[in-house]
Amino acid sequence: MSNFDETIKRYYSSMSLPAEKVETILANSVRVRKSLFSRYYKFAGIAALLLIGFVGLHLQLHKATMTERLLAEIAMNHQKRLNVEVSTDQYEVVQEKLNRLDFSILPVKSELIVNYTLLGGRYCSIHGGLAVQLKVREKASGEFMTLYVTKLTDTLEDITPLDAEFDGVRIRLWKEDNRLLAIAGNKEASQ
């Protein structure tokens, strides 16, 4: 190394940042990094909330669509007024004749048995699953109604009990003993 280089090096080596300045810079750098991290956490939090909201909304919409589809199916079956395959006023007889059913068709709600007369039943399908469609008549009004019973599946589990009107049909949905039940009647008949 030349005399010149050495002199220059000596000069620059004698120069250094004041100790307080170094400490300030190092302290600031940690603070800057921390604030950056907290900003990242904030963004991550907002993103997580948005994701949860989005997933929740998606599930809600999916549920709503599924309920709507179910109501449409029930209303359509009711309006078809198909003839019964087993004509009887005994639930036990329908159960016996329609032997492919692996669930009880007898409603737990006694009011159904007391207030409605069974006329017969036939196989049908609800949401792709095997179901029974029972033709009943309300004793008080004489109105013909359709009672549906099917086994609860994972997808039907999400359905919430409700009273609704769909395509001019009044529908009541409820759950009993691991089964989904629905009763449908014409809107005009009840008015």
Binding site: F4, D5, I8, S14, I25, L26, V32
Partner: protein, 187 residues
């Protein structure tokens, strides 16, 4: 067969001593201090004024730290300082780069007198253009080769050589006026 003593199977977990962690932390802080000082010297070679150099190195360091945390090295720091310096220069905050007078001749550099003081050196460096100071700093202090300086500053090898040569000549004129006078009179 005699049963093996239970203690033979015991493996002792060597827990890290608290001093070890502290030592590592201290070393890291020392490295950061050295890096900051190297950056400061480089900034000084560009701006010459100490407060400006301090600001330059602080801003560059914080920018880098924000992006990369502790993963900062000298080359990265120098590059950030340089970019920031150019930015500030363009904004007119630092009035530094002068015109490069290729026509002007300077005497050849001979050895420096032994009684050169820091004040003399400061004066001699003050008379240089920033790019000359930068090239001399990178070459003489940081030990960069001419090719490395050319690559770092994105100048041609010839320009870097010229910057170093002219810078040294200018300094020699300030630091060793007698020698240069002798040389001038001999021409």
């Amino acid at each position: 067969m005699p049963k093996m003593a239970k203690s033979a199977n015991i493996t002792w977990k060597t827990s890290r001593l608290p001093d070890e962690g502290r030592h590592k932390k201290d070393c890291l802080k020392m490295e950061e201090r050295d890096l900051l000082n190297a950056g400061f010297r480089y900034a000084l070679s560009l701006v010459r004024v100490e407060p400006d150099a301090e600001d330059l190195v602080q801003e560059s360091w914080l920018r880098l730290y924000k992006k990369r945390g502790r993963r900062i090295n000298k080359s990265l720091l120098f590059r950030t300082i340089r970019n920031l310096f150019i930015d500030q220069y363009r904004r007119g905050k630092l009035a530094v780069f002068g015109q490069f007078n290729e026509e002007q001749e300077y005497p050849e550099l001979t050895s420096l007198p032994s009684d050169v003081t820091m004040m003399d050196l400061e004066l001699a460096l003050a008379g240089l253009r920033p790019e000359e100071r930068e090239a001399i700093f990178l070459n003489s202090v940081e030990g960069y080769t001419v090719d490395e300086i050319a690559d770092f500053t994105q100048r041609s090898r010839g320009t870097v050589l010229s910057l170093i040569h002219r810078g040294k000549q200018k300094m020699a004129k300030v630091l060793n006026p007698m020698g240069s006078d002798r040389q001038e009179s001999s021409i």
